[in-house]
Amino acid sequence: MNYQPQDFLPIFVQLAAALAFIVATMVATHSLGPKRHSKKKDDAFECGIESIGDARTPISVKYFLVAILFVLFDIEIVFMYPWAVNFKQLSWNGFYEMLVFMGLLLVGFLYVLKKGILKWEK
């Protein structure tokens, strides 16, 4: 088959129809039907308890650092599984490559340890 650009017109028509339907229903539901707004109505629903403060409070950066470190070493494990499966085929070449890879990560790990990331009390 030899498709011309104008053959894709139905896709755009369908896209336009889908968007028009969404916009039309949103306009219709917002203008039809009863609604009531007040300060308490528009508050966050907390099972009837009055909400206090803001949910978007700053969280200690340590959580983020630990999460990122976890991802890093998780990736390391992910690479080690296929290496273990193909250990024989990859032979010494693969072994040296893994050594370099894990060495780099180890240097990074020592660096973050030196930076005191795992010192929680600080």
Partner: protein, 182 residues
């Protein structure tokens, strides 16, 4: 579909002809609302236990289009208050009611929710109609599931007959204003 064992909701009164059926929008909206009421259970004591069996397979409130409990007030249509509401709990009930979207109905289940019941004491609210407008009262201590279902069917009748303008009418606004609700 006549030989089906599934009950089909009867069509509202309207003009019928070959291949068409016409009725008022009020009837249509009422029919849709009445058969898809989502309850928000507010169960604080033994009536809540009765509600559990009302929900379960034997009594099965799902037969009335209400199997989808809404634990967020935002999507709920019927607030079912079941059990003793202490004065400390009253602001919570009111807040949940306030945060429900219109149209909303309230079903007060059991003697405690209706009137304070046997707890005629300083710490218990003497009926939830002191803080929020109630549509249907179900008496009993606790009421049997059949009674809760009957109360729910009364709510369905209200939903079916309600004019789509009711929530914007001055009477309704005055009712809410008497409860201090904007």
């Amino acid at each position: 579909m006549s030989d089906s064992s599934v009950n089909i909701v009867e069509a509202p009164a309207g003009v019928e002809g070959a291949g068409f059926f016409a009725t008022s929008l009020d009837n249509l909206v009422g029919l849709a609302r009445a058969n898809s009421l989502w309850p928000l259970p507010f169960a604080t004591s033994c009536c809540g236990i009765e509600f559990m069996s009302t929900m379960a397979s034997h009594y099965d409130i799902g037969r009335f289009g209400a199997e989808r409990l809404s634990f967020s007030a935002r999507q709920a249509d019927v607030l079912m208050v079941m059990g003793t509401i202490s004065k400390k709990m009253a602001p919570v009930v009111k807040q949940v009611y306030l945060q429900m979207a219109e149209p909303r109905w309230v079903l007060s289940v059991g003697a405690c929710a209706c009137s304070g019941g046997i707890f005629d004491t300083y710490s218990v609210l003497q009926g939830i109609d002191r803080i929020i407008p109630v549509d249907v009262y179900v008496p009993g201590c606790p009421p049997r599931p059949e009674q809760i279902l009957d109360g729910f069917m009364q709510i369905q009748e209200l939903a079916k007959k309600e004019s789509t303008r009711r929530r914007n009418e001055p009477e309704y606004k005055a009712l809410l204003a008497s409860y201090g609700i904007e």
